[in-house]
């Protein structure tokens, strides 16, 4: 039985809450599960691209409670401090975030972050043996370099969040991971169960019972010491609390955030930055325009007003999720990139990502509660 009453996630918002900026395609690492197709090349974003984005973003930020610019997609510190400073300079009234592998973070980078109020998220997958797929281009483990970066952040008192990719979700792992991140000192943690997308084609059809047990165990670990803001488990709990209060339909945004991802060359990919750099005979390069030729606000507003091509197909897929999936109120519909890279199109519904990171998450938290 499916609730017919979910009213959120209808159509695309004309104004996002953040943009993603790719200062360089280069990443100094070569992680085993990475989805980025151009990570071995150093294609740099020129300042006029940042200026063009800022012309729209500064106006959005002026009337928003807060607006974030996220530097991501490639390793942003690979661009160097001077280049990143030049790219940040046109922005006004925004909050800068960086998602980094931390391997290049040193005292100078920490001073850069502190001086600009940059919020830092690092990527690490747990203890050394669990981070083994994070490797340098010569194949050497990156863990030591990552920890040197973490030490620098600690030395400078810079709070950091962490993203952890889990490639083998199973019972026994979650408690170990949570204890590790407590010790690491991050204030927030996101768990990304590995996804089949981009150039990562590894099968992600993990055994359902193992994934549920992973989430259940993680729930128990968090409950025992909830110092870390634990993204997935806490969102599940928030949804459950709202369901019990009868306010669950208010949790999803009314409209879908377009999440503009600005490629190094100014091209704009909406909804799923993982699609940037790919092309398909049916859909083209997934780009909705280029900020060097058309203002970002026009690109976004144009798509929101008239979503066609792959974005129109995606919206059809969201409606199919709404009509068929009892978890829609929690999830809001499968993500565009997961649909494409798993199904080859955008109007399908359930994906491995749905199963691993939404359905089994919710069920795992329920399993934990039921056993208590």
């Amino acid at each position: 039985m499916v609730s017919p009453s979910w009213t959120g996630m209808r159509g695309i918002a004309q104004v996002p809450s953040y943009v993603i900026m790719q200062p360089t395609t280069l990443c100094n690492l070569d992680c085993g599960y990475c989805y980025l197709p151009l990570r071995a090349r150093d294609l740099r974003m020129p300042v006029p691209v940042a200026e063009a984005v800022a012309a729209t973003v500064n106006a959005w930020a002026a009337v928003a409670e807060r607006f974030s610019v996220v530097w991501h997609g490639g390793e942003p510190t690979s661009a160097g401090r001077a280049a990143l400073a030049d790219l940040m300079a046109p922005f006004d009234g925004v909050e800068h975030h960086i998602q980094t592998n931390a391997t290049l973070v040193d005292d100078e980078w920490c001073e850069f972050f502190a001086g600009r109020g940059v919020r830092v998220g690092i990527s690490v997958d747990g203890p050394r043996e669990l981070t083994a797929r994070r490797v340098a281009r010569d194949g050497r483990p990156a863990y030591g370099q990552i920890m040197r970066g973490v030490e620098a952040l600690r030395r400078h008192g810079i709070p950091f969040a962490a993203l952890c990719v889990v490639g083998d979700p199973r019972p026994g792992l979650a408690a170990e991971l949570y204890a590790y991140f407590l010790d690491l000192g991050c204030y927030a943690l996101g768990i990304n169960v590995e996804e089949r997308e981009g150039v990562n084609v590894r099968d992600t059809a993990f055994p359902g019972a193992a994934v549920r047990a992973f989430w259940a165990e993680l729930t128990g670990a968090w409950r025992a010491d909830p110092r870390i803001e634990l993204r997935e488990v806490e969102w599940a709990l928030r949804y459950m609390g709202a369901t019990r209060a009868g306010t669950d339909d208010e949790l999803l945004p009314r409209r879908i955030d377009p999440i503009p991802a600005i490629g190094y060359d100014g091209s704009v990919v909406l909804l799923s930055p993982e699609l940037a750099g790919f092309s398909d005979p049916r859909y083209g390069d997934f780009s909705s325009g280029n900020v060097l030729r058309r203002p970002l606000r026009e690109i976004v507003a144009g798509v929101a007003a008239q979503p066609d091509g792959w974005i129109g197909e995606y919206l059809t897929g969201v409606e199919a999720c709404r009509a068929s999936c009892p978890y829609f109120g929690f999830c809001g519909g499968a993500h565009a990139a997961n649909r494409y890279f798993e199904h080859g199109r955008f109007d399908g519904t359930e994906t491995d990502h749905c199963r691993n990171s939404k359905i089994r998450l919710l069920e795992g938290v329920l399993d934990y509660a039921r056993a208590e």
Partner: protein, 63 residues
Amino acid sequence: MPEPSDPGDEAVPVSERIKGAEPGLIALLDEAEQTWRGRSERPGWRPFEDAFPTFYQFTNRPR
């Protein structure tokens, strides 16, 4: 239709199972509320998803 997609899933929709929650879930939610209230008393604290824009993978954040 994804439910039931895993062995062990109940035939009852998940929302109904949450509403008919057993004491274990009610206690867990009460503790979570206490945690969130405690955090909200910290100067400068914001809800975690607001501090974490890479959350796009989860909530498609804005209202």
